[in-house]
């Protein structure tokens, strides 16, 4: 019914992206791990999906970021259900979706296809596949790999993959919230890896978590991947990993220092607040008025008695409770917006007109976003 059904998931995704990116620096300054940021993002996205407020909201929906080039023989294997997507979303299997997009180039050396728009990220790619990202880097997968967006997926063959050439992070830094926890360790530790990466650059499929290597646990600092991702894009040799490792302890120390600094700030509000309370003022007023009453009482004692009698019942509060107000407000449909004008159509009739702008409406469980809205209602 509403045409924003297609753009809404993108809008929400972009909002999530913006927020996560803008607080990333804040988080790192405060000494909070990137993993927390990732968790926040995961939680947020899953809640949006759960609420079913948005149609077609697919976690990690970035269709154009990943162009996979497969070797020629792969197109045949595509028809087989060799690639399976976990049934987290109602997605058809990878192969059936991908097939329409596969076209053989004339030379027959590679087949290119892009991940279809609706594909959710846990994608399993069998061995022997050569992948090319949008930036043009070639990656060869020697063992079955699972490509994920989230940091939660553990690979089915962690040991095997660790020995693969999966190493650098994706060229696209924006959604790089998912942590590659021990990429530096792999680079330095893997003897067999050069064999796999012989002619190609090392790469990491985004979000792959490897079992921690004992080589350098300090390198698992959350601050290393973003800093190193861009650097390692260009690096191919394992030697370049060493300076990375050296810088990580420094970064870690810095963050610790900052956190200590924060603890030294004294709190000036709350209990230590020195500003006067409004209660004090009211008390003063009450005293003054009571004094007034007493004065009047000297003139007319009966009146004063009446006043006191009437005041007491209200203070107890039991008589005068409104239970109907919560009933009226027990609604799920909410609009959060700014208003241009809200006016009464004739005072005696309870009819109102609303001129609203820039808002989100949640109606019947679904979200609708608008830049202008006009409404009429009865109070």
């Amino acid at each position: 019914m509403l045409s924003n059904a297609n753009s809404l998931p993108k809008l929400y995704l972009s909002v999530i992206e913006d927020v996560i990116e803008s607080i990333r620096e804040l988080f790192s300054d405060e000494g909070v791990e990137e993993r927390v940021l990732d968790n926040l993002r995961q939680l947020w996205e899953s809640k949006v999906v759960q609420s079913k407020a948005v149609e077609g909201f697919i976690k990690g929906n970035n269709p154009s970021n990943f162009v996979l080039q497969l070797p020629a023989n792969y197109s045949q294997s595509l028809h087989k259900p060799t690639v399976v997507i976990p049934a987290a979303q109602n997605m058809p299997s990878f192969s059936s979706k991908a097939t329409p997009h596969v076209f053989q180039s004339s030379c027959g050396s590679v087949a290119t296809f892009s991940l279809p728009a609706g594909i959710t990220y846990p994608v399993q790619i069998p061995a022997g596949v050569t992948l090319q990202t949008a930036s043009g880097h070639f990656y060869k997968v020697n063992v079955p790999v699972m490509v994920t967006r989230g940091a939660q997926h553990v690979l089915s063959h962690p040991a095997a993959v660790a020995r693969s050439s999966a190493l650098t992070q994706r060229p696209d830094p924006a959604p790089a919230a998912s942590v590659c926890e021990t990429p530096p360790t792999l680079q330095s530790a893997d003897g067999p890896s050069p064999a796999a990466s012989d002619s190609q650059t090392e790469f990491t499929l985004d979000g792959i978590e490897f079992s921690p290597q004992p080589v350098d646990p300090s390198a698992a600092s959350p601050f290393t991947p973003p800093a190193q991702a861009l650097r390692r894009e260009q690096d191919t040799a394992a030697d370049d990993a060493l300076p990375d490792l050296q810088t990580t302890p420094d970064i870690k120390l810095e963050t610790d220092f900052n956190f200590n600094q924060l603890l030294d700030i004294t709190q000036l509000d709350g209990v230590a607040d020195s500003s006067s309370d409004t209660e004090e003022d009211d008390d003063d007023d009450d005293l003054g008025l009571v004094g007034e009453n007493e004065f009047l009482g000297m003139i007319n004692a009966a009146e004063e008695e009446e006043l006191e009698e009437e005041e007491d019942p209200l203070n107890s509060g039991d008589d005068v409770s409104e239970q109907d107000i919560p009933e009226i407000f027990d609604t799920e449909n909410v609009i959060v917006c700014q208003y241009d004008k809200v006016k009464e159509i004739h005072r005696s009739k309870n009819r109102w007109k609303f001129y609203l702008k820039d808002g989100v409406m949640c109606y019947g469980g679904k979200d609708y976003v608008f830049s202008k809205a006009v409404g009429e209602a009865e109070w």
Binding site: D282, L307, L314, V320, E322
Partner: protein
């Protein structure tokens, strides 16, 4: 001809206006922002708060004086006023419910006959006044009850007075006078 006193007249109270004081200063802006069902009128310096349960509208001033309108009985007016005071208390003001007073009651009544207004005015010269060019009804002021009755030629009358009792008395008092001047084809 003696006016019959057996006629049961339906006096319908349409509006009861009352006032009370909260005995504390009220921040109108706070009420306008945090209160429910409020209309903030900064140009006049008051906040209107409408209640659903007794259907009443209250004008709230920053001095703490509140005028409550729209009730259909004196009890309802008091109940509504207390509910209102409770609302303000919940917002956070130290409200005391004091000086509650019903100041005006408006009632209507439909007489079963039409009235010859000119004759009625002539018969009740100083008390009744009728200026058809200004207003189509004749007005009859009962000083001791402090009430006013507006008489229309259709037989409909509106009565305003300081309380329900005086309104009822006013109707009783004026009925025989109107009965005399009814428009019968006799």
């Amino acid at each position: 001809m003696e006016p019959s006193n057996d006629v049961a007249l339906d006096i319908i109270i349409t509006n009861v206006v009352s006032v009370f004081r909260t005995r504390c200063h009220l921040n109108l802006r706070t009420i306008g922002l945090e209160g429910t069902n409020v209309i903030y009128k900064p140009e006049v310096g008051k906040v209107l708060m409408k209640l659903r349960k007794p259907r009443i509208t209250a004008s709230i001033w920053s001095s703490g004086k509140i005028i409550c309108t729209g009730a259909t009985s004196e009890e309802e007016a008091k109940l509504g006023a207390r509910r209102l005071a409770r609302c303000l208390q919940k917002i956070g003001f130290k409200v005391r419910f004091s000086d509650f007073k019903v100041v005006n009651v408006l009632a209507v009544c439909s007489l079963p006959f039409q009235i010859r207004l000119i004759e009625f005015t002539k018969n009740n010269r100083p008390i009744a006044s009728y200026e058809p060019e200004i207003h189509p009804a004749a007005s009859y002021r009962i000083k001791n009850l402090r009430s006013t009755v507006q008489v229309f030629s259709t037989g409909n009358i509106t009565v305003t007075g300081p309380n329900v009792q005086s309104v009822a008395s006013a109707v009783e008092q004026i009925y025989p006078l109107l009965f005399e001047c009814q428009k019968t084809l006799s």
